[in-house]
Symmetry: C2
Amino acid sequence: MSSEENALSVVALGGVNEIGKNMYVIRYANDILVIDCGSKFPDESLLGIDVIVPDITYLLENKDKIRALIVTHGHEDHIGGIPYVLKQLNMPIYATRLTLGLIEVKLREHGLLGSSRLKTITADSALRFGSFKVSFFSTNHSIPDCLGIALNTPEGTVVHTGDFKFDLTPVNNHYPDIHKMAALGRKGVLLLLSESTNAERPGFTPSERVVGEHIEEAFSKAEQKIFISTFASNVHRLQQIVDASLRFGRKLALLGRSMVNVVDVAVELGYLRLPEGMLIEPTDVNRYSPNEVVVLCTGSQGEPMAALSRLASSNHRQLEVHRGDTVILAATPIPGNERNVARIVDNLYEIGAKVIYGSGSVTGMHVSGHASQEELKLMLTLMKPKYFIPIHGEYRMLYQHRILAESVGVEEDNIFIVKNGDVVDIEQGVASQRRKITTGNTLVDGLGIGDVGHVVLRDRKHMSEDGVLIIVITLSRADSKILSGPDTISRGFVYVRESEGLLEQVNRIAASSLDKLLEEKVNQWSTYKMTIKDEVGKFLWNQTKRRPMILPILIQV
Amino acid sequence: MSSEENALSVVALGGVNEIGKNMYVIRYANDILVIDCGSKFPDESLLGIDVIVPDITYLLENKDKIRALIVTHGHEDHIGGIPYVLKQLNMPIYATRLTLGLIEVKLREHGLLGSSRLKTITADSALRFGSFKVSFFSTNHSIPDCLGIALNTPEGTVVHTGDFKFDLTPVNNHYPDIHKMAALGRKGVLLLLSESTNAERPGFTPSERVVGEHIEEAFSKAEQKIFISTFASNVHRLQQIVDASLRFGRKLALLGRSMVNVVDVAVELGYLRLPEGMLIEPTDVNRYSPNEVVVLCTGSQGEPMAALSRLASSNHRQLEVHRGDTVILAATPIPGNERNVARIVDNLYEIGAKVIYGSGSVTGMHVSGHASQEELKLMLTLMKPKYFIPIHGEYRMLYQHRILAESVGVEEDNIFIVKNGDVVDIEQGVASQRRKITTGNTLVDGLGIGDVGHVVLRDRKHMSEDGVLIIVITLSRADSKILSGPDTISRGFVYVRESEGLLEQVNRIAASSLDKLLEEKVNQWSTYKMTIKDEVGKFLWNQTKRRPMILPILIQV
C-alpha cells in the first residue's frame, strides 16, 4: 500500500459510500491491523447473489504483515464477511465475548471453528502489535459489548469509533466511557474515523429505554396472545421484552433461527437475564391460555421467509395468530423493506389482529442504535482530531458528517471523504490522499465466492426481463444440409401454447437465414449464429416489442 | 353480475387492497357505468412486466349494458389502463377538459385517438344514462380539474369521491365544492365510496400553497442554476415553479418527455399560465448566465432513465449540473423508490451541488394530494352515508378508514371492506356482499396484453436467480447411439471460462445417465430428459449450492 516505509496509511476495503461490509485497514511500516469484516445484502440488480463481502486482494498480497483482525461489535455488517475471508486468510480475531460468541455461530456453520484463532478482549484490554499499541473504549449501540478502538502509532493516535450512540441511560447499565474518550482527546488524536449512519438526522437519538416503556404499555393492554418481532441481535430490546413478559406473568416462546441463536449465546454468556422456566417451546404455546404467552419472533423487516411473515399469511408450521391477538413490530422498516412490511400488516389486519406498526418515532417501538447529529458533534468534540475521515455511510451521509465536523472546528482541508480503496497516508504529521488500492465487491452465490461476474449478472438480468429462446439446428458434416430443426424452445418469453404460431415463424426465419448463408457458401459458424440471432431478434421485436435472449445452437453430425 | 334485475350493484375491478389501477363498476338493472380505468406498476416479482391493468372479463361479458366510462381525474392510476381496455371495449369516455387532454396524449401514442369517443364534462354537468342520473362536484387533488361523482339511482344516491383533499387555499383558486357535498348529504346518500390513500395519516393535509412558499425561499437563496424536479402532472406545483421563476427573473427550460407533454396540454387548455417568451429550449440554457435559468425536470422519484437521474450521473445529452448549482427534489420518495432517490442525492453531492431533498414534511417541498384522517372524517360527515365502502388503498388503509367512519357514526355493519371482484348488492335499501365476479391483474409486456402468465414469470424468476444450463445431445435415429454431445451451454449460471471443469463434468454426467438408460433399453424421451435433469441438478447443487434451470435437448437425426 505504501512505498513509504514509515508512513501511517488508512484505507477502507468496504464501508464508505455504502451501508454495510465494513472493513478498514490501518498500516504502519510492516504492520497491518484490520478492523471489522462485514457483509452486506445485494440490491435488486444483483440477481441471485446471496451476500456481498469485501474484495481482499490487498490483504492477500500483504499476508505476512497482517497482525490481527479486531472486531468492534457483532452485527452482520461487521462480522458477516469473516467466514468467507477466513477461508482465504486465517487472521487471529480479537473481539469482546458477545461478539466472539456470535462469530463462533457463523464459523461453526461454515465448519471453520476448529481452525480459527479467537482472542477475547474487553474495553480494558491493552494490546501490542508491532508498532501499534491498541486500547479500547466502551460505546453504546443496538447490541451489547461494543468497542471503539484507539491505535497508538509512531505518527500519533488513530481512533475508530465503530458504531455508536450516546445512550446515557442504557438498559444494561453499561455506560459509554465518555471519560476515556475525553482522555484520548486531551492527549491528542491524530485521525478520527467516526460512523455516519445517522449524520442526516438532527438532534440526539433517544435511549433504548424509551422502547421498554412502550413495550410495557402495549403488554398492559393486550388481552390475548402477544407476538412481538424485532432484530434478533438487539439484546437490549430482547431484555426489555423478557422483563415486560415477566412483569405481566407471561411465558416466552422463540420463533426463528437467528432469534434462537442469539438468545442462546446471549443467555449463555450472561448478556441476557432469562429466569429459569420462563422459556417455552413454540409447540407448547397452545397449552397456555392466550394471556399467558408472548411469542418473540424474527421477521420485523418483512423478510418473506421469516417467522412473522409466515404467521401473517397463516402458514407457520407451529403457531397461528388469532383475531384479537396483539402483534408488535418493534422496528422501523429500513428503506427498501416497506412493501414487504406493509404486506404483513395488511395480512394481520385481515386476520383481525391488533397491530402496532410503522415508524418507531410514532409508535415508540424502535429507536436507532446510531448517533444523531448532536452525538456526532459530541464525539468530534471529545476527540478533537487533527484529521477526520467520516466512515459507515453513503456519500450524502459522509458529506453531512463533514459539515458537522467543520461546525465543531475541524479544518476543512483536514477532512477526507474517501471511497473504498482510497489510501490516506500520514507522514510526519501531514495527511494526503493520492493513492488507490484494488478493492470492490466480492459476490457470494451459493458456494461460489467471487465467481459470479458482470457477464453472468447481465445474462440473468436479460433473461429475467424477456426470457430465453433456444434455436437448435443440426447440420450434416458431409454436405452442410439441415438434418433437423430449426426447433425453438422458449422459457420466460411467452407461454408456448399461446404462441405456437409465433415460434413456427421463428423456425422459418431461422431456416431461411441459414439457407441463404449456405447458398452463399458462407462457411463461418459465428456468422450463421449472428445472422439467425439478428433476423429472429428483429422479427420478435416487431411482433412483440420484447427482446428475449436468443441462443442459436448449431450441431454438426 | 346481478341476477336481481332491480338491484343496485357495486364492484371494484381494481383499486381496493392495492394502490393503483382503479376501476369501479356501478350497475343498476341493465345499465352499467364504469368509473376510472387506471394502471399500476408491477412490483419486483413481476419480472419484465411493463404495466398492470384491470382484468375486464366482466365488462366484456356485459358489453351491451355499458353506458359510459367516467374518469375522475388525469393520474395514471385512473387513466393509464384506457388504451389497453379501449382496444377491447370502445366505451364513450366522459371527463373534464384537462383529464381528456391527458387521455388524448395516451390515445394518440397508441393510435386510438381517431376511433375513441371523448365527451367533455364539467362539475356542473348533469347526465342521464338509462336509470342513472349523474352529477358532479369539484374536489382538490395534486392535479387540477378533479371530480367527485354522484349517481342517482332508483335505490338511492351513490357517491364516489375520486381522489381528494380539502385544500381551502388552492393555488388555482378552484375551491372544493363543500356546499354541493353538503347538499348531497342533506338529501341523503345511500352509499359512499371514498378514497383511503392517507387513512393512516393523522391530521389535515397542508395546502399546496405551502410548497410555493418554500420554493420561493429556495429560489431567493440560489446563486447559480436551479434544477427542480417534481411530478409532471402536478400542475399546481408547476404553476408555483413558474411564478417563482418569474419573480426572480429566471427563464424556464423543461427536461423529460412527460414534463413537456403535461406543460403543453396544460398551457394549451389554460390550466397553466406561462408568460410568452419565458420558456427556453434546453439547448439554449447555456446561453444565459446561471442565475437566469430554472430547469424543470422529471425524475423526482429516482427513475433511472429520467432527466434528473441522468443529470446526477453527468450523462444527460444536453445539460449538466455544476458545483454550486441548486437542485430541488420537490417530492417525497414513495416507498420502494428511496434507494434510487438516495443514489441521485449522493451523485449530486459528489458534483458539489446544493441539494434539497428528503421528506416533504421536513423540506416543505412536498405536500400530499390526499385527504388525511380529519379530511376523511369531514367527507364522511358531509355525506352522512347509510353504507360505506372505503376504496383506493391497501388493506390497512381501508381498515383505518373503516375505523374513521365508525368514529363519525356510520354503523359498523354498514361498512364493507371489499376485495377486487366482491360485489355489494343493494336491494330495497338493504346491502349485502355475497357474490364475486372474475377480475384480477392483466399484465402488459411489450405489445402483449395478458399473454404473460404464471409459468412465464416463474421461469423468468428461476433464470434470474441461477441462470440456465442447456445440454444438447444428438442421437442416431437408427441405433440410438450418441452422435454428438453432450454439449453444455450456460447463461447466467457461472462465467464459463472460470468453470470449464464444472461443465465438462456436467457433460460426463449427462452422457453416463443417458448411456445407462439406453443400455436398459428405456425408450422414453421424457425419461431421458428427466433423468439428465435430476442427475445434473443434484451434482450442481452439491458442487455450487445453485439450482440453474436445466434444459436437456435431445435431437434425433
